[in-house]
Amino acid sequence: MTFTRGKPVRYHEFGRPAAILGLVAVFGCVGDSASRGGTLVVSSAGDADVLFPPLTALAQSHEVTDLVFEKLAAIGPDLNTMSDAGWTPRLAQSWSWSRDSMSVTFHLNPRATWHDGTPVRANDVRFAFDLYTDPKVHSSDGRDIAEVTDSVSVSDSLTCTAWFKRAAPERFYTLVGGLVPLPEHILSKVPRDSLLQSPFAHAPVGSGPYKFVKWEPKQRIEIAAADRFYLGQPRVTRVIWTIAPELKTAVQRVFTGEADFIETLTPAEASAPHDGVRPVRLRGNVLGYAVFNMHEDGTNAPHPLFGDRALRRALSMALDRKTLAANIVDTSGRVPYGPFSRSLWSADSTLRQAPFDVDAARRALDSLGWRMGKDSVRYKNGKPLAFSIVTPSSSEIRNRTAVVMQEQWRQVGAKVTAEVLDFTAMGERMRAKKFDIVIMQTFAAPSPSGVRQAWSTSSIGMGGANNPGRYSNPVVDSAIDNALTAPTVTAARAHYRVAYQALLDDAPGIWLWEPAVTAGASTRLDLATLRPDAWWTSIPTWGVTGSAPRGAEAAAKKQ
């Protein structure tokens, strides 16, 4: 592959007197960092929360921990979650199943070490399992792991066996995809309820291709290639996340050449040419949807409006989602097929959808007794068809969605108020179940089981973002349960289809848009194949031309 050097120059490269900021180049650099090369600067629009895998909540944290820590095996590019097919050995160099498939034995790579030099041993895997599944730790991954896994036993220093509770088809994915082996020799003394506050959560010691270097909150996180990594040295030798307070600033850093990669560009940014930056299409896994509250504010009584299935369906039909998606996410946006991302293996494009039909919506509302008043608002028993849509102020895309929905529903006689709240206030409203409609945005994991968190009865009360409308439908619940225990992909897909269709028919939500995600990458990057759900996992295989970011090169030349 050949590379084109980008034209943009960094401020350091200016020699003119007015460029007082060229001081840096004059003063030069020391050490060998600049000449080692392979530095990648990722521009991020937010800081990490913690760098402790069982408790990381933000994508920014995962980007770091997924490179600092190594799992037993890695999911393949086809994101198969139903078996271990396509999974590649990582910390475990091999694994074998018992005859009844109720246990799997992992054989660890004997050359694997923690970044402090201590060998990775089977006890670390068992320790991690105990830690994840300890209720004091409050790990959501741990809850999933404990649901399918009974225990982990150790045969010898390099061999451990995971014992499953049931033959759940996704048990391998749930365990291996969720569990990150942790260094027992460091963490065994930390109280389980204080892990979030421990120094390890901010300066982790892992076993992955990169070791943690530093984290300056709100400024940068840096990791560097681990010495003698047992699976081969990464091509990118240093990765730095430069943290901006907002997305626009983060994008500009790539356009000015101060950073090499940004995960998200708007369609306008992606289509406008910028020297030295090229758009990279990622396989989108983002889904935007509106959730109806099925119950009256904070009570178990049915919601005065949305407790009525027919009203929900009428409102669904009144929404022109195609126009809405085009308005909100531009031409890159698509209308979802249902309550799932297209990137999932269970995605089904043949489901029966509620059509966009304003006349049918009006007729349905009339038949439900909602009569148009003189003020162009419908009334029933003297009460107006009035409700609000809650969105977080931090999400421009969701705020705009609410405005478009407001206008489209106005045309059928609904009086809609858009409530823009700060993220925490919105979270509190969702926790207290005090809302009419909330617009959500999710990032789909490889497993379609996420539909359970979003819509099953069992997820009510499992955190404000999980089934916030408190929707409950035995058909959906059993179909999801059947899918999660189905022995084959085909059988699971059929069960998911039942669940998806029931959700579409019942309309507890409206699935609004699914944007294609376009990243911005410096032309000096040679990107390998990017994993659809986690582009950063392939960073070790990326190529970076030149010895280091352009500023460092300039400084080195001056010396």
Binding site: V9, R10, Y11, H12, F14, A19, I20, L21, L23, V24, F27, G28, C29, V30, G31, S33, A34, T39, V41, D49, A57, H138, S140, L196, Q197, A201, H202, P217, K218, Q219, R220, E222, I240, T242, I243, A244, P245, T249, Q252, F255, T256, E258, F423, T424, A425, G427, E428, R429, M430, R431, Q453, G461, M462, G463, G464, A465, N466, P549, A552, A555
Partner: protein, 326 residues
């Protein structure tokens, strides 16, 4: 010192009263707003019971009065608490933000204030001339523009179009650690230049108006006329007679402006991605990080009280005729 003691005691008393009132108000009002520091994490990762357990563990389930007394006790004993948004001790978060803000605000303020004194004096001496009038119009124009618009304009021109300055942050993340000490200093200065100059311009035009008016008032005083009549050089007149008597308002404004900039420079910090007190405060408020907000409020209030007292003392030092109001 004899003159200063009652003044300082009175000021300390006032400051303490203001501090108690503000801190109590913020504490109560903030506790009454929806949300708590655990919500962001609980959204997807904790059950209702776990969320309640977090609240109980950190004492958020107790009556506000009990929480307040406990917080005051801890604060007085030097325990500022835990920042749940940063997952670090409040003391650590505050110290970092304070140092970063100091790095930005002090040079910006010094530059801006000195510029204001020079500009205000020049405008007063050139009163009525077209250039002075033009500069006054520019001052009004600049002051009527919100500081974040100024910041965005500076960013667009100098960082994006001319590429003379970095677009934000405190250092070049890829380069900084490989530089010599002098290089690292220069790197920080390079990143500091644009936000500091933006703030300096705002300070300069804001303070210069007060100073110009003060100089105009002094220029017609008898002692200035006498000095000129006695043949003193104009520069001596300015240095010995005009400035010492006219600096009072500029110093008084400085006493309030500088501490206020620490928590109030949020827009400039946000635009230039400078991790200072203002940005930390906004993030803490949005994340309902009660203890961090409280700590920043205390520091800001104390800083404003100190700044104000210091400004009075400096004004007296420059002009002994000024009375310290107790």
């Amino acid at each position: 010192m004899t003159r200063l003691r009652p003044f300082l005691l009175a000021r300390a008393g006032h400051a303490l009263t203001v501090l108690v009132v503000i801190v109590t108000l913020v504490f109560v009002l903030f506790r009454l707003t929806p949300g708590d520091p655990f919500l962001a994490r609980s959204q997807e990762h904790a059950t209702e019971e776990e969320h309640a357990a977090f609240r109980a563990r950190w004492g958020y389930d107790r009556p506000i009065a009990v929480q307040y007394v406990k917080w005051v006790g801890n604060f007085v004993s030097g325990d500022f608490g835990w920042s749940h948004s940063a997952q670090r001790p409040v003391r650590e978060v505050l110290a970092t933000a304070f140092v970063n803000s100091t790095l930005l605000m002090i040079p910006a303020f010094v530059l801006g204030w000195l510029g204001a004194v020079a500009l205000g004096t020049w405008q007063a001496f050139r009163q009525g001339r077209w250039l002075a009038r033009a500069s006054e119009t520019v001052a009004i124009g600049v002051l009527s523009i919100p500081d974040f618009v100024m910041a965005l304009a500076a960013l667009w021109v100098f960082a994006f179009r001319l590429r003379l300055a970095p677009s934000g942050g405190m250092v070049d993340v890829a380069l900084h650690d490989s530089l010599t000490l002098a290089g690292r200093t220069a790197d920080v200065v390079a990143h500091l230049a644009l936000p500091a100059l933006t703030l300096a311009v705002v300070v300069m035009f804001a303070v210069s108006r007060y100073h110009r008016a003060a100089v105009l008032g002094v220029l017609h005083e008898d002692y200035v006329r006498t000095a000129r009549a006695s043949g003193a050089a104009e520069s001596d007149v300015v240095r010995r007679h005009v400035l010492p008597n006219a600096l009072g308002p500029a110093i008084a404004v400085a006493g309030i402006l500088l501490p206020g900039m620490f928590a109030g420079g949020v827009f400039v910090e946000k635009v230039f991605a400078w991790p200072g007190m203002g940005r930390t405060l906004v993030d803490a408020v949005l994340g309902r990080d009660f203890e961090l907000v409280q700590a920043i409020v205390v520091v800001s209030t104390v800083a404003i009280a100190l700044g104000s007292a210091l400004a009075d003392i400096v004004a007296v030092t420059f002009n002994p005729r000024v009375q310290l109001d107790t």
